[in-house]
């Protein structure tokens, strides 16, 4: 962060950080399934916000930060996907008939199925089902039309249907 920030700027930055870091971290963690990568993406977003480059006007910082986090996760995810294709993945299935273990395993499988969706479908699914954004709000985050959002959600849910059927 630039040392030229005034005292009031620093106070504003801290306020925003305290108010929004947790929710942004959770969003990034859902996308990336990697604690340190999620932390990096969110930190980068806050750094960009207060670096003096193009940023939001008053009152729109959270929406701007969320958009930057989503974009950052997209880039990170792409690099992770390349790395995963080149590295044999170990099975994460766990044994045991404990109900909690079974529920956790089902959750992991659904989340893994979301990971396999094409980028836009995955983003729409996460922003709608996890962030609880409306289609119009998602359109603002991703910069694509509401009609496209509807299409991506429809196709994403259709792709998830087989694994969701197992939960019934």
């Amino acid at each position: 962060m630039k040392s030229t920030m005034t005292g009031s700027d620093a106070a504003d930055a801290e306020t925003l950080y305290r108010a929004h870091y947790r929710s942004l971290f959770r969003l990034a963690a859902v996308f990336l399934d990697d604690r340190s990568a999620a932390d990096d993406v969110v930190q980068e977003a806050f750094l960009r916000l207060h670096s003096g480059r193009s940023g939001p006007t008053g009152g729109k910082e959270f929406a701007w930060l969320r958009q930057v986090v989503v974009n950052g996760c997209r880039e990170r995810y792409r690099r992770q996907a390349v790395a995963k294709r080149r590295t044999p993945q170990q099975s994460q299935e766990q044994g045991g008939a404990d109900e909690a273990v079974l529920a956790a395993d089902l959750h992991r499988r659904v989340a893994a199925a979301v990971d396999q969706l094409p980028t836009r479908q995955r983003e729409c699914i996460v922003l709608h089902h996890f962030e609880r954004l409306t289609e119009s709000e998602i359109s603002g985050v991703l910069g694509i039309s509401v009609g496209s959002i509807k299409t991506h959600l429809h196709r994403g849910r259709a792709a998830l249907r087989p694994v969701l059927e197992e939960l019934r």
Partner: protein, 231 residues
């Protein structure tokens, strides 16, 4: 299981990662943001800043690797816009030869957008690819226009042309970084009603389609628009 099993699954993942990190800001650190480096870090450099630098470098390399060919070439004569910026996407002279008219893409946001476009094609997400190149951001920065709507059989269409002299069957993303001067593909896309504007025949139930030929020429993207076909 809640009424929204997708939410439950994603929330479980977020909960798992949140439990593994201390999200509480230390009250005795000045300034409190960004988070102060952990005492065990060597060299006095906050770990996040080091990772941030590495991440930025990796991102820059990644972008350069994918779109490196798109910024090759001499842009010394790139036209300047009215606000003083460099207009890297619009040719100033029409030419019968698209090779001469193509301009390199130097705008960072356009480069990133192109990377997203090729990644979407690689994933087979042609709706997303079409959306990206149909939007104002892309048309303002580059010359490539893919067109609206979904592609009926995009994989077969692209493979057919990738097998031609233009391309060699690699993924579109890989095609983008090849060093040959000319490559391209044709996408046939149905047109939603009303999207064509004037000239569109008002015949309900008639399938309309358009073909765009997108060529990557000397580091730039040039669209050779073909007349719309009404079927």
């Amino acid at each position: 299981m809640t009424d929204d099993p997708i939410h439950a699954a994603l929330a479980a993942r977020a909960d798992q990662h949140e439990r593994s990190v201390d999200l509480a800001l230390p009250d005795d650190v000045e300034p409190a943001w960004p988070r102060a480096p952990r005492p065990s870090q060597p060299h006095g450099v906050p770990p996040r800043r080091r990772r941030w630098s590495a991440a930025v470098a990796a991102a820059a390399i990644s972008v350069a690797a994918v779109v490196g060919v798109l910024v090759a070439g001499d842009d010394g004569d790139a036209p300047v816009t009215s606000d003083g910026g460099v207009d890297a996407g619009v040719p100033q002279e029409t030419s019968a030869d698209p090779i001469d008219a193509a301009q390199p893409v130097t705008d960072e946001s356009a480069r990133r957008h192109l990377e997203d476009f090729f990644a979407a094609l690689d994933e087979g997400d042609f709706d997303a690819a079409a959306e990206m190149l149909g939007g104002p951001q892309m048309t303002a920065n580059v010359q490539a226009i893919l067109g609206p709507g979904a592609v009926d059989q995009p994989a077969q269409t692209l493979e057919r042309y990738c097998a031609s002299a233009f391309c060699t069957g690699q993924t579109i993303g890989e095609v983008a970084v090849r060093e040959e001067n000319v490559r391209g593909f044709v996408v046939t896309t149905p047109i939603p009603p009303g999207a064509l504007g004037h000239g569109e025949p008002a015949e309900p139930g008639v399938e309309h389609s358009m073909e765009y030929r997108v060529m990557q020429v000397h580091g730039g993207l040039q669209v050779l628009d073909l007349p719309p076909r009404f079927e």
